[in-house]
Chain length 261, copies 2
DNA sequence: CGCGAAATTGAGTACGTTCAAGAAAAGTGG
DNA sequence: CCACTTTTCTTGAACGTACTCAATTTCGCG
């Protein structure tokens, strides 16, 4: 891509896509989306880290029904949590963006009730086996943070449940577009023109919203023709946030900065 | 009901429906469904407790968009977490049974994104304002437990999202019946004949499953006519667990005992 | 017994699904 | 750089599950 020389940083906060050795050098931490960590906290995190893991697009980080999954922080890329039925029907529970934890539900000795799969090439920060418990013991504050992250993810799933349970197809699509765009914005991943990377296909959208692929396509198309959004070249641009928000009844409060493990 | 004199304990573990003063006397703790707490832990819990709260059936414990909700443990009765859209469409996120926490998501200074309402008369154990943070500081172990509870609730919501997103109406109903029956069983709330208290109406079921009231009724009826379950007098009896489980693809692993705050 | 809430049933409709096929886009290898 | 393959997107048509509307019955309770 010749353009990359001219426009080097699509991300407001550029960071190397591979998780560096030292947490101190962690590019994610430089993002204003996260609470700054104290030196002591950084040290604790670093001591509990056992390396990094790269998963190619489409690769599986945690399998459904897997035992003893580890704990990860997504460093770069998009991933998803999902569940499937025996005949292949799939429900995406939520999308994971940089800074999100993966594997938390599995830290309590139980079988994973969902899978985690990389949507784009992903880099994860990998923690030691008993990292979670150590964290609670050594830094109550950070244990508290983990609970906050868990609660925030649950509220995401809550919203998705309202969406699939009670919203119409256009409402669902509008919701998804607004939600993801807002999350990307917070992470500083939107470009100057307001567009954001959007590496998921219509099958992903359908599986996240509980719709069929065909109907997802038709609904997406209708909203685009109304001039509400633009979706091309793997990027999303919101053209009429007001109307999309009204359709979806999307009103999110500005949350406090997220802690970053 | 004349029968109540003959069969005094519908619950395997009887406990007074009102939360007693001393946690030591807490009837719930005597249930084998929960991990026993050490004397030190009990003391901590008791010190963080600021009393109990009774909410009549239909009453609201936490309003949607409420600020500064407190933290509660449901002591007796059924409650529900829910979200609504402006035109009244309602999605029940999950049902709360004795031992479940309420208000955890709101402990981090944010507005409640869901409501909590009592379905039957409920008694809650109420905690101090900063109880959660104190807990993490004083007993790392119990902070860890809270995260476990949060993770468990999220996995419940995950399952409900799969249900509304991808299961057919009969599958949804079968799932709900099996899920709730299993939870009641674990709490020792099933009678000798296998029946369990089931104080929700078809509107609740519809709102939990993302179905209309009418369709819920027809589906429920069909399953009952197939001899899979019996629903009357506010009680549920599973008549053919095997078939219901197969329809719903309901396979839950036996989880470890739940901690009780 | 009578009232209100909850459950039940039928009829017509609509939203979303499935089936099918073609167009566009994105990779792949020579 | 182009031919070829594969994936993704798009559109039309027929169908079906679930919804809405409406009316009746049953149940719980004072």
């Amino acid at each position: 891509m010749a353009a990359s020389r001219i426009a080097p940083a699509m991300n407001a906060v550029a960071h190397p896509s591979v998780c560096p050795r030292q947490c101190e050098d962690c590019g994610l931490r430089r993002s204003p989306a996260f609470t700054p960590a104290s030196a002591a906290e950084l040290e604790t995190i670093e001591s509990l880290r056992s390396g990094s893991l790269s998963v190619p697009a489409g690769g599986t980080l945690i399998r459904e029904r897997q035992l003893n999954a580890r704990l990860y922080t997504l460093y770069s890329g998009w991933a998803m949590r999902y569940k499937t039925l025996s005949d292949g029907r799939r429900q995406i529970l939520n999308f994971l963006l940089p800074g999100d934890l993966a594997g938390l539900q599995q830290q309590f000795g139980e079988v994973s009730s969902h899978g985690v799969e990389a949507i784009t090439d992903c880099h994860f920060c990998l923690f030691e086996d008993d990292a979670l418990w150590s964290l609670y013991r050594e830094h109550a504050r950070m244990g508290y943070d983990v609970t906050w992250l868990a609660a925030r993810e649950e509220s995401l799933v809550d919203e998705n449940l309202l969406t699939t349970g009670r919203r119409s197809a256009p409402e669902r699509v509008a919701m998804l577009l607004m939600q993801l765009h807002r999350r990307l914005e917070r992470l500083g991943l939107t470009a100057a023109d307001g567009s954001a990377p959007f590496p998921i296909n219509q099958q992903h959208i359908a599986d996240a919203l509980g719709l069929s692929l065909v109907h997802t396509n038709k609904t997406l198309r209708r909203l685009a023709q109304m001039g509400l959004h633009e979706l091309s070249g793997g990027r999303l641009r919101i053209l009429n946030a007001r109307v999309l928000a009204r359709i979806a009844e999307f009103y999110d409060s500005i949350p406090r900065l997220a802690p970053l493990l």
